[in-house]
Amino acid sequence: MSRRGRSGVLGVFAHLDTTTDAIRRLRRDGYPLTVYSPTPRHEIEESLEAPESAVRIFTLMGAFTGSAAGAALAVWASLDWPLIVGGKVIVALPAFSIIIFELTILLGALSTVAGLFLTGRLPRIGRPEALYHPSFSGGQFGVFAHVGSDRFDAVRTIMTDSGSEEVLLDQA
């Protein structure tokens, strides 16, 4: 994908079908896009044909790390300070399975959040990735094409043809 500049054209859409229509047409012409929606819609994801999110790798790695950490902590600490009670085993795996389980969940969840932050580029401090309009968290959809000012007219035509309510330009 070509490098995303901040300058570009933002189309504001009131309907889902006009948004996906614009996405398909702009993608056909090879423009890199940022799409805003008030709620996750599979129609938008399908029209963008984006690859699967990498969050799942973080979840898996975090969960495995948690299991290993839980087992290591309980086993090592029990061997380091052996509490001998009636000749019972020191490394008691049925009892430790609870510690292992809890740390699996804990680290799995925390690394999922870390994965979300890294892949979703959150928290975003400073200027947003592309021009934004507050109505996108209300009821409107937005399609921003990252293009230089020489392609503004071509993109604007596609946006209005697809049914955009309003087209905004960002020269920056």
């Binding site: 799409v35 929606s37 709620t39 804990l106 959150l122 968290s137 009821g139 049914g163």
Partner: protein, 491 residues
């Protein structure tokens, strides 16, 4: 295959068909913007009633703080705890609040995995309740240990004496279970809130609120990259939270079941406690949702259908709990164990008969009234039942904990436990603490999940094939169609 937005109809039917499509779960919600407006209505200037309730809650917390101060100063003997009843009101209340904290994750994670669309409107409220209930519960072991400044002894921290906690002890399992649950449910709650805080940021007019929301929203814009990773992360968090929620109360139950105290030493405790936890949690969700719906006029979101589904969950868990009560008595009788039989006889005919009968009546019998549709659909009746279940569930924990200790093996050790004034003050204060957070939450953060309710609303379409078809027709019938539901069904 792409999901279709409406059910199949014949051409003739289509021709006469509707112009407006609404979700069956929220037939009165017209469009996306309305959700924002209604959710933001909750975050408005508080009235006198709200401030009075908040003041009352804070006063209750203050009362508990004074009682706790006395207990720290004079020692744990200030509470009614003594031999043989080393566990009393504090542990009862701890188990009660951990149990309350189960409904939120049930609704937010388990129903999410089951794709139950009625969860969307209610889950934020339930999830906030979970976080605050576990926050309340976590206070009680610290209050109960008497010397709270030594709490860190429970954590696996390196010390110069080379001591480590005993990982074979159920109490250490409990520390791990409750702290993990508090962390994961808080994280889950906050991650779910981010898009809605961003929506609040975009629509609020007050400058200081805008600043706070801007920080909390982490720069969320609802871009395709954010949504794609968000939906996956949310799914995995739900998948991790589901076994967690089932494990937490199981681990709490093993605090009891792993010991040999009569009435505690049983294999059914884990499922019995989890079912009881969900019963009490759903009951408190109803106790909070009914007044919230009335005060904030949220009839379009918390519809009768939502309460009907919750009533059914309540009935199911009540039946499980009732079955567990029966099983406990059967096992005590069938085991022919003198001490076991004696403890169970004592629960309903001994010193604590009022607790035993309250628990059986309020948890197993009263919720069965919900089988009658007229009662189930009457919110006032449902509200009263939910309060009774809450009282019954507190008694259940009391009946499990106290009579077993006060009336265990040797008759010369039998001694009845009585709640002291300081314990009563701390018990009342725990409700103040919980409702203080709940009230603050209702006014400062979006209590309706803005983005998730939109997921089950039909999306706005310009060139809808059916709409195009009826454009020339004179007759236009507005009908609600189960679009959101259909989509969920087909996914």
């Amino acid at each position: 295959m792409k999901p279709k937005l409406r059910p199949q109809r014949t051409e003739a039917q289509e021709a006469k068909m509707a112009t407006e499509i609404r979700s069956v779960f929220h037939p009165e919600v017209r469009n996306y913007e309305q959700v924002n407006r209604d959710a933001m209505r909750l975050i408005s200037r508080p009235g006198k009633g709200y401030l009075a309730l908040l003041g009352l809650s804070i006063a209750m917390v203050g009362m508990a703080a004074i009682a706790f101060g006395y207990q720290v100063f004079y020692g744990i003997g200030w509470a009614g705890l003594t031999n043989p009843s080393g566990w009393g009101t504090f542990i009862t209340t701890f188990v009660f609040w951990v149990g309350i904290g189960h409904a939120g994750t049930l609704i937010s994670a388990i129903l999410f995995l089951f794709r139950a669309p009625w969860r969307q409107a209610i889950y934020r409220l339930a999830e906030a309740m979970t976080v605050f209930a576990v926050l309340t519960a976590a206070l009680f072991p610290i209050i109960h240990i008497g010397r709270p400044w030594f709490f860190y002894w429970l954590l696996p921290l390196p010390s110069e004496r080379g001591l480590w906690p005993n990982f074979r002890s159920p109490l250490i399992w409990d520390v791990f279970a409750v702290t993990t649950y508090l962390t994961v449910s808080t994280v889950f709650f906050y991650i779910g809130l981010i898009p809605d805080i961003a929506a609040a940021r975009d629509s609020t007019k007050e400058p200081w609120r805008k600043k706070v929301f801007t920080v909390l929203a982490l720069g969320w814009r609802g871009s395709d990259r954010e949504w794609k990773n968000f939906t996956r992360a949310y799914l995995f968090l739900a998948a991790l939270a589901t076994p967690l929620v089932l494990s937490v109360h199981s681990v709490v139950s093993w605090d009891f079941a792993v010991s040999i105290v009569p009435g505690w030493h049983t294999t059914i405790f884990a499922p019995y406690f989890v079912a009881g936890a969900i019963l009490s949690g759903i009951a408190l969700v109803v106790s909070i949702a009914v007044p919230v719906r009335k005060v904030f006029r949220l009839e379009a979101y918390l519809t009768d259908l939502h309460f009907d589904r919750m009533a059914k969950l309540l009935m199911l868990t009540s039946l499980i709990v009732g079955f567990a009560y029966g099983t406990e008595y059967f096992m005590a009788w069938y085991s022919a164990e003198l001490f076991e039989r004696d403890v169970f006889f004592d629960r309903v005919f001994g010193q604590y008969w009022w607790g035993g009968w309250s628990m059986i009546t309020f948890n197993a019998l009263v919720p069965q009234l919900l089988w009658i549709p007229k009662i189930r659909r009457n919110l006032n009746a449902f509200f009263v039942i939910s309060i009774l279940v809450n009282i019954g569930m507190w008694y259940e924990r009391f009946v499990i904990i106290v009579p077993s200790l006060a009336h265990s093996y040797e008759p010369w050790r039998f001694l009845n436990y009585h709640m002291s004034y300081s314990e009563a003050a701390i018990l009342i204060g725990s409700f103040g603490w919980f409702f203080m957070w709940m009230l603050l939450f209702l006014r400062f953060l979006p209590a309706l999940s803005i983005a998730e309710i939109k997921e089950i609303l039909p999306p706005p379409f310009k060139h809808h094939p059916v709409e195009a078809l009826v454009e020339d027709q004179e007759e236009r019938v507005v009908e609600t169609l189960p679009t959101g539901y259909e989509e969920f069904e087909r996914r």
